[in-house]
């Protein structure tokens, strides 16, 4: 559920669409950092936004499309007048809800610790709103960041 903003227009609506390839990761990251700088986000929070963004994008890049045929990855970013940063990541790959993945067991000792699943866990821990839906054959992941993450 998106919080209602007041009467002002969104501060910086924007969109970037590129092939879902790892080499494009820095472009997406730079795009979001540039936009996030317009907000009063602390350096720490900006790093957390980068981290969540990388996890979400790499997930699409690695799993949404066949490796030989990377499809499009669409990033939509909107800064609302309420001071929150709203991100939406869309792809036309196979239907996949990353939020259904079980949390890794963080208590197991080194040799039993599973190697995967940490990215989605970090996303859940560091965001203030995270939801997925399928729409028009697209995976749509919505992410909300508040300037300061409530622990």
């Amino acid at each position: 559920m998106l919080p209602l903003s007041n009467n002002r227009e969104p501060i910086a609506p924007n969109r970037l669409e590129l092939p879902a390839k790892l080499e494009n990761l820095p472009h997406f990251m730079a795009f979001v950092c540039e936009q996030a700088r317009q907000f009063d986000f602390t350096d720490k929070r900006t790093l957390e936004i980068e981290l969540v963004l990388e996890e979400a994008l790499v997930n699409v890049i690695e799993y949404a499309y066949p490796t030989a045929q990377p499809g499009r990855l669409i990033l939509h970013l909107e800064g609302k007048a309420d001071g929150k940063l709203h991100l939406e990541i869309r792809d036309r790959g196979i239907s996949f809800n990353p939020l259904e993945r079980a949390a890794p067991d963080l208590e197991t000792e080194l040799m039993e610790r599973p190697v995967g699943g940490l990215g989605i866990f970090l996303m859940k821990e560091l965001t203030d709103g995270l939801s997925w839906h399928r729409e028009n054959d697209e995976n749509c992941l919505s992410i909300i960041f508040e300037p300061r993450h409530a622990d």
Binding site: L22, V58, E107, L110, L118
Partner: protein, 110 residues
């Protein structure tokens, strides 16, 4: 990202990690550590004071090497993590499976 050998003392190799460890650069860490392992080096202290950022790809690379090193009866320990990197380690529970020290001197004393 850059990983550089600082010194080798008493079978312990100390290296510095510089920059960002992400989905693109984590392989550089893996490749370098693998190449040291191939030289029969099996105990490492990594100075992370210049490591600005780590994502799950970086954590994964560290976990895989830490497991290999354990099987060889060696050790992989980290020192001088920046606050944001330390936070990622704590959220992931990695601070409980990877030895982390405040600085290189503390790590060397182990």
């Amino acid at each position: 990202m850059e990983i550089k050998e600082l010194k080798r003392e008493n079978d312990l190799l100390t290296a510095t990690l510089n920059g960002r460890m992400d989905a693109i650069t984590a392989a550089e860490f893996t490749n370098q550590l693998e190449s040291w392992l191939a030289e029969s080096q099996k105990s490492f202290t990594i100075d992370c004071s210049q490591l600005d950022y780590i994502s799950s790809a970086g954590l994964r690379a560290i976990l895989i090497i830490a497991k290999k090193v354990r099987l060889l009866d060696g050790k992989l320990q980290l020192a001088a993590l920046q606050e944001s990197v330390q936070t990622v380690f704590e959220i992931s529970g990695f601070d409980k499976i990877i030895p982390i020290f405040a600085n290189l001197d503390d790590a060397a004393a182990q």
